[in-house]
């Protein structure tokens, strides 16, 4: 029987035994044994160890400049350059590639000892730096500023040292815009926002999903989110082409975890059961985002199995402790590779990873021995011949599985996490990555943690495991340079070739910082129906909104041009709001795709987006997103029809008024308040069949 969660929860918290479940909850509470006390010497020892660790180092720096303070500025800049170029590789961690590229020098700003600096002076300095930084960087938001408090303070220290009071402040300037200098095509999440990097290295906001983690399809047209706040989980898909969000499936309990878009498909999403405890198994399945059909093809995958799909999506490999299981998802054929077949001396199978060309799998095998007596090996198995080759072998102080095996897009390289170096407490391993060349017997080499391959596989992004700094490694030469521009805590999703997804230059009015994009940018579909893309919506107070558009085809080859800014009056504000509030249903008008949302239907005519506000079968007003033409009532239709007869050679680039607005299009169908309507030959909406609640119109309008 359904419960009211709030009411039931209140009773649970109050220990009110109102129903059988609450009585059982009380019984469980009564069973609770007292909490085991932690051993006091251990507790004190661990505390001492933790609180004497080196200071966490900041990831962003400010340079100090100022003519009258050259010495301080030189100190600060020297420190800045040293830290920017050295601390990708962590202390004590052997990173040959980085060491070669960056040199071995390190520099650390130690925190001022308590009481060493006159607190009021340091506080004043920090306050002044904040003010100057804010003036120099209008996009600086409170949270961003608070995150950088430590860096600013460290900069103050570097310039003036502990215990010294500056007599005046130099002007701080950000070393670089926080999002500049990233490789083009990089896709990442930060703060629940999805960003893409354009050809100029500027990160642009592509989408937002507060509270959810989403994934882009391979063609960049769709992203999905699993709404786990509901029970059961609801899977939602955003269509970036139309701006629609659809709930596509209520996931069954045993397939409630989306694993990602199915390889080779832009409409299928792989599903898994949630990971349970040891000894349990879970299911694997797939949901089709178009048909909403859910299929389950196995329920016997170990809870902690490594799973890898072939690039064509037809085959998957997963691990058991003693074998690799290869399943043909089309025929159901199962092939088992035992650990003994992979390496006669190995006892365990760790992870498995399918090569991007689909011809090979890499398998991790190893032995968990006594301390300093464990090893692991990475084998490559040819799917054509069945031959097995070893490309990496390493001894391990403590046996640990890798977290994944990643093949480069060219299938020439493998990235495998490693745990070779332990810190001085020999408790927590320092994570890094070993790269192995798949086609040769060349020695592998190790560096910081791998994050992403470049589209051509010649470069990889790595991150220092402690500093969080990002570096770009050239796979051939092993040279590395530091990328200083990723937001703290960002998660790299992908690195795509230009044209694979929406990557555009920022409008001149937009600061190339995600924090500076106006909030309304979140509200607007990213693409107009005919392929124009909205890349910025800025609030021009009192004058409406400026919408920056990018035409179709632009941006496909990596070259971007902003050709049109349309100013939208206040009437369009309502449209903006309505358009966001309600789900959009696809609509076809004279072969042009469009949408209907609530009382609004929109499509395009000769390059202008035309929207009709519909009220119970009557047309109340017409809005267009053309400059100077916000609201048109019926009396102006003849004028518009006249303008239709004057073709505009390049409507998008030069349009300053609506180029077209004919009679209501014959055959226009739409749904309103549970009622279907269709425009007859005279241009008058006629009531059609009543529609059941939840009816959705197919994209072709049929």
């Amino acid at each position: 029987m359904p419960i009211d969660p709030q009411d039931w929860g209140r009773k649970l918290e109050a220990d009110d035994v109102d129903d059988a479940e609450l009585r059982l909850a009380a019984q469980l509470r009564a069973q609770r044994s007292s909490s085991p006390a932690i051993d006091d010497p251990f507790r004190r020892k661990l505390r001492a160890r933790l609180t004497s660790a080196p200071a966490p180092r900041p990831s962003w720096r400010f340079a100090l400049i100022g003519g009258g303070f050259a010495a301080a500025a030189a100190m600060a800049l020297g420190w800045l350059l040293l830290t920017r170029s050295s601390d990708l590789s962590e202390q004590g961690y052997p990173a040959p590639g980085l060491t070669d590229a960056l040199g071995a020098s390190t520099s650390t700003v130690q925190p001022c000892a308590e009481g060493a600096a006159p607190a009021p002076d340091r506080a004043r300095v920090a306050t002044e730096v904040y003010a100057l930084a804010q003036a120099a960087y209008p996009g600086l938001e409170d949270e961003w500023r608070s995150q950088r408090e430590a860096e600013i303070e460290a900069t103050v220290q570097a310039g003036f040292g502990c215990g010294r009071s500056p007599t005046a402040m130099p002007l701080p300037t950000p070393v670089a815009a926080p999002t500049a200098g990233l490789p083009s095509g990089l896709i990442y999440w930060a703060d629940y926002n999805l960003y893409g990097v354009d050809a100029e290295g500027h990160a642009l906001l592509l989408g937002s999903a507060s509270g959810y983690i989403g994934w882009l399809s391979a063609d960049g047209e769709r992203e999905y989110f699993a709404d786990s706040s509901s029970a059961p989980v609801i899977l939602k898909v955003n269509d970036r082409r139309t701006g629609m969000q659809n709930e596509i499936a209520v996931l069954p309990d045993d397939l409630s975890v989306p694993l990602g878009w199915w390889p080779g498909s832009d409409e299928r999403i792989a599903l898994s059961g949630s990971i349970g405890g040891a000894g349990s198994t879970r299911s694997l399945g797939v949901v089709n985002a178009r048909t909403r059909e859910i299929s389950r093809f196995t329920d016997a995958v170990p809870f902690d199995a490594s799973i890898s799909f072939s690039p064509d999506g037809k085959t998957l490999a997963y691990t058991r402790p003693d074998a690799v299981i290869i399943v043909d998802t089309v025929t159901g054929k199962v092939t088992t590779l035992t650990v003994a077949e992979l390496d006669a001396g190995a006892q365990l199978v760790g992870h498995v990873g399918w090569s991007r060309d689909g011809n090979q799998i890499a398998v991790e095998v190893g032995v968990r021995g006594a301390e300093n007596d464990s090893w692991r090996s990475i084998k490559i198995v040819s799917m054509d011949t069945g031959s097995v080759r070893e490309v990496l072998r390493e001894s391990l102080p403590i046996y640990r599985n890798s977290s994944e095996i990643s093949w480069s897009p060219s299938s020439a390289w493998l990235a495998v996490p490693t745990f070779q170096a332990l810190d001085d407490q020999t408790v927590t391993p320092i994570y890094g990555t070993c790269f192995a060349e798949a086609g040769t017997n060349a020695a592998s080499w190790c560096t910081d943690s791998w994050l992403a391959w470049s589209p051509d596989g010649t470069q990889a992004i790595v991150r220092g495991p402690v500093s969080g700094k990002y570096g770009l490694v050239q796979m051939g030469s092993r040279e590395t340079h530091v990328l200083g521009a990723m937001p703290s805590g960002a998660a790299i999703l992908d690195w795509r070739s230009p044209g694979q997804t929406l990557l555009v230059s920022p409008a001149a009015t937009l600061t190339p910082s995600p924090t500076a994009i106006p909030p309304l940018a979140y509200l607007w579909p990213r693409r107009l129906p005919e392929g124009y893309r909205i890349i910025g919506v800025s609030d021009e107070t009192g004058r409406g909104y400026r919408i920056s558009l990018l035409p179709p085809q632009q941006g496909r080859e990596g070259g971007f041009a902003l050709i049109n800014d349309l100013r939208v009056g206040t009437a369009a504000e309502e449209l903006l709001t309505k358009g966001n509030d309600q789900p959009r249903e696809p609509l076809t008008v004279r072969g042009q795709s469009g949408w209907i949302s609530g009382t609004m239907a929109c499509w395009t005519e000769l390059g202008n987006m035309v929207c009709l506000s519909l009220m119970q079968g009557d047309v109340a007003e017409i809005q267009t997103l053309a400059d100077g033409l916000d609201v048109v009532d019926e009396s102006e239709w003849p004028l518009l029809r006249q303008s239709l007869n004057t073709p505009t050679p390049a409507p998008y680039a030069t349009s300053t008024q609506a180029a077209t607005l004919p009679d209501l299009p014959v055959g226009l169908g739409y749904a309103l308040a549970g009622q279907a309507w269709e425009v007859d030959a005279a241009g008058t909406p006629q009531p059609g069949t009543a529609l059941p609640t939840g009816t959705r119109i197919s994209p072709d309008g049929r």
């Binding site: 069973q31 609770r32 933790l50 609180t51 966490p56 786990s228 990971i275 405890g277």
Partner: protein
């Protein structure tokens, strides 16, 4: 364990100076230790190792930690869960016992019934009930750890209890619906 501005200040202070991490450590170490202890069959040495690894990872990850709707408490519990999962990847635990040996109930029959019922539940249900009733994690914190709303948590708890009740009454539990 609150997620107040005070704790946020503590996190910010620890991000600047590891010695300030001690206060956060003091606040959570006993709870984390108890949480781990119950999940490693009462192996105190192992619980100490995993507790140490949890806090060391938290300290190392602190510069990158941002207060984005997930409190420090929820974050460190997530680290502890990961450490436990990592451990069991290396060394699977013994099957769950259906005896009441690990319970401290004054009424042995009831304890045995509960132990049997819990052993028949899915791992997700069992963990949920253990976290809420044995570890006594407050609802808001547990909801944060699981990344769901408190209301969704209540729904899940209710369903898990319903399945536990059926498991105790009829000796089996169905996850078909």
């Amino acid at each position: 364990m609150d997620t107040s501005a005070n704790e946020r200040d503590l996190v910010k202070a620890a991000q600047r100076n590891p010695s300030a991490f001690g206060t956060l450590y003091d606040r959570y170490v006993q709870t984390i230790y108890g949480f781990v202890f119950r999940r490693v069959d009462g192996d105190a040495a192992l619980a100490q190792d995993l507790t140490a690894a949890t806090f060391e990872k938290a300290l190392r990850g602190l510069p990158r930690y941002r207060w984005q709707g997930v409190s420090f408490g929820a974050w460190i519990f997530q680290i502890a869960r990961n450490e436990i999962a990592q451990h069991y990847r290396r060394r699977p635990p013994a099957p769950l016992s259906e005896t009441a040996a690990s319970f401290s109930s004054p009424t042995p029959d009831q304890a045995i019934d509960l132990a049997r019922g819990l052993a028949r539940l899915s791992n997700e249900d069992r963990e949920l009930l253990e976290c809420r009733f044995f570890d006594d994690l407050p609802t808001p914190l547990l909801a944060e750890i699981l990344g769901i709303s408190p209301n969704a948590l209540y729904v899940r708890l209710h369903r898990a209890l319903e399945r536990l009740r059926k498991a105790m009454e009829v000796g089996e539990v169905s996850y078909a619906d």
